[in-house]
């Protein structure tokens, strides 16, 4: 009797759709230990970006020429650079720049890419051909080359790096979203709501967008990793963030000049990049497994 009533209760209790879905995803995500580590690290990095600069012993530009190019010590955990600045403190100061570039450039790229991809996939025909040819043109500049082109036109600085990396990420989003849209469009439930008399706007926003959201999120996470690498590359070439900004790529570029005498100057900013990029890659992989086990890169 008692058992029966609890069953009844649990059956009649309405459950919130969004919580329900998020719960399921989180459950699967939790099982993926690597993804949990990645997610935790990302949270830690975000936290560091906000409060880290207040905790570290030195300012980002605080020079001490007497102590230049010193190796790691208790005083300077990661040593000092050619101007005697504390590398550890600079890396912590640079965290927010790195994350800012990663999140913001991908955010811009995702917005453009999703719009292009959905319009292209949903409407098809001439507009699809036109948009996809445009993406092909952008993709014909492989890798960092497109970003280099944008920076060439717009002078190297931080915001232009974000723009450059965004432009270079748009086609990836557009293609993935277009592919997913095409797949979802063919499903019978889209026909069912069309048969009910639903218009394009409702179909796109209520029925297609939510169901292509998973690949977008996964792509975004993995793209942040690529964006950080690309931006660091631009700065390394002197075409991105300019010294004395504590941007890791730019710090590496400095370190390159002292590689013969003081290898640590290049070592630590690079390690910082590896750790952050790794965290996003791991988390992205885990998200992909949790959101859509069938989806492959």
């Amino acid at each position: 009797m008692l058992a029966e009533s609890t069953v009844q209760e649990s059956m009649t209790k309405p459950s919130n759709p969004h919580i329900e879905n998020a719960k399921n995803i989180f459950k699967r995500l939790k099982k993926n230990k690597a993804a949990m580590v990645g997610g935790f690290l990302i949270l830690l990095f975000i936290l560091t970006a906000f409060i880290g600069p207040f905790l570290v012993p030195y300012g980002a530009g605080e020079q001490n020429l007497v102590n230049k190019l010193q190796g790691p010590s208790a005083e300077h955990w990661f040593g000092t650079d050619h101007l005697g600045r504390d590398i550890f403190s600079r890396i912590i100061h640079g965290m927010s720049i790195t994350l800012y570039i990663g999140f913001f450039s991908v955010f811009i790229a995702a917005i453009f890419g999703v719009v292009i991809g959905i319009v292209s996939g949903y409407y098809g025909g001439k507009i699809d051909t036109l948009l996809m040819r445009l993406m092909d043109v952008l993709l014909a500049f492989p890798g960092i080359l497109l970003a280099l082109g944008v920076v060439t036109i717009l002078r190297p600085n931080l915001n232009n790096v974000i723009l450059a990396v965004a432009v270079f990420s748009v086609p990836a989003f557009a293609r993935i979203v277009r592919g997913s849209t095409l797949a979802v469009k063919e499903l019978e439930y889209i026909d069912a709501v069309r048969a009910l008399g639903a218009g394009d706007v409702r179909i796109i926003f209520r029925h297609i967008l939510p169901n292509v959201f998973s690949p977008i999120i996964v792509q975004a996470t993995l793209r942040i990793a690529t964006a950080i690498l690309t931006a660091a590359g631009l700065s390394f070439l002197g075409l991105g963030a300019q010294p004395p900004t504590p941007e890791w790529g730019a710090m590496l570029s400095d370190g390159r000049n002292y590689i013969f005498d003081a290898g640590h100057v290049a070592l630590f900013p690079g390690l910082a990049i590896v750790v952050v990029v790794l965290a996003f890659n791991i988390f992205g992989d885990g998200l992909r497994d949790a959101l859509d086990p069938k989806m492959k890169s």
Binding site: L134, L239, L252, G270, L278
Partner: protein
């Protein structure tokens, strides 16, 4: 297949057209007067006018584009502002260095990536798989320029067994190729693994097992051939990434290739040189994609050519 090949080649024409427009517009999208930008802030009006004359900037834009294209088709990519030499010569003298670097790196990536990916898939969920995949994740997450610097520091500066810079001798080739090829190897390994795992779940693999085929042949005869189809595409596309990755690697190892030339030209705001080399790299990339696409179709007999 023949019709498909022709159609695919024709499809690249609008892309080529778009690329050429973008490259051409590069100079004109720069805020302000391109001639002023090239000449520098302090240049006299006469110098600016000279540059304007030399680059044909006084013509209407469509006319300039037409000239640009006609010249490019005849192999004339303009004159480098920095060196005064024809851009085509500057590009061509460096072209093969970059091609070599990219090619060797691709061989390395494909070789290591395939082996690692297959091992990982066959030993699915064992410690070997986990270790290989962790290494691959690191490979994917490392900036190639930093890896180059670290290799250089260890092998050239600490151990003094390999040269720091340059290109040509076998010793000079080793480090840049490893630095550039590592990320590609990681990508190919991951792709091979997931492709293999997907194929192993297919019905025809079950058929092969039901026929009494030895597990070894199930993997290497039935699964691998199917799994390779998407991997070949990735390997092909990787070549393009390597071409541009060379920009960074060449800078690190002071290799006088096309990538470094682009960077230096950008720094010097030598627009004709940038335009010329970007155009050449994009063309090579489009060509490689075309070849990859055609070979993909050729490999994948399942794809209906209609």
């Amino acid at each position: 297949m023949f019709v498909f090949t022709i159609r695919r080649i024709l499809q690249t024409i609008p892309v080529l057209f778009g690329v050429s427009i973008l490259v051409f517009l590069m100079m004109h999208l720069v805020p302000g007067d391109p001639a002023q930008v090239i000449a520098g802030e302090a240049a006299s009006p006469q110098t600016i006018e000279q540059i304007r004359e030399r680059l044909g900037l006084n013509d209407p834009l469509p006319m300039q584009y037409l000239n640009f294209i006609m010249n490019a088709l005849q192999g004339d990519l303009g004159t480098s502002i920095r060196s005064g030499q024809p851009v085509s010569e500057e590009v061509f003298s460096r072209f093969w260095v970059t091609m070599e670097l990219a090619f060797y790196s691709m061989i390395l990536s494909a070789f290591i990536g395939l082996i690692a990916g297959i091992i990982s898939a066959v030993r699915h969920y064992t410690i070997i798989d986990v270790v290989v995949m962790i290494i691959a994740l690191f490979g994917l997450s490392m900036p190639n320029f930093w890896l180059g610097l670290m290799l250089m520091q260890f092998f050239s500066i600490n151990l003094e067994i390999l040269p720091v810079s340059g290109w040509g001798t076998p010793e000079q080739i080793i480090l840049p190729v490893i630095a550039l090829g590592t990320a590609g190897a990681a990508i190919i390994a991951r792709m091979t693994r997931s492709s293999m795992l997907e194929v192993i779940g297919q019905d025809y693999i079950r058929t092969a097992r039901a026929k009494g085929v030895k597990e070894r042949f199930v993997i290497y005869k039935h699964a691998l051939k199917n799994a390779m189809i998407p991997v070949v595409t990735v390997i092909g596309l990787e070549f393009g990434t390597l071409l541009t990755g060379a920009v960074l690697t060449e800078t690190v190892f002071s290799i006088n290739g096309l990538g470094r030339f682009v960077v230096e030209s950008i720094r010097a705001r030598d627009f004709p040189a940038v335009q010329g080399s970007v155009l050449v790299i994009a063309l090579v990339f489009i060509l490689v994609n075309l070849i990859v696409d055609l070979s993909y179709r050729f490999l994948n007999k399942r794809i209906d050519l209609n």
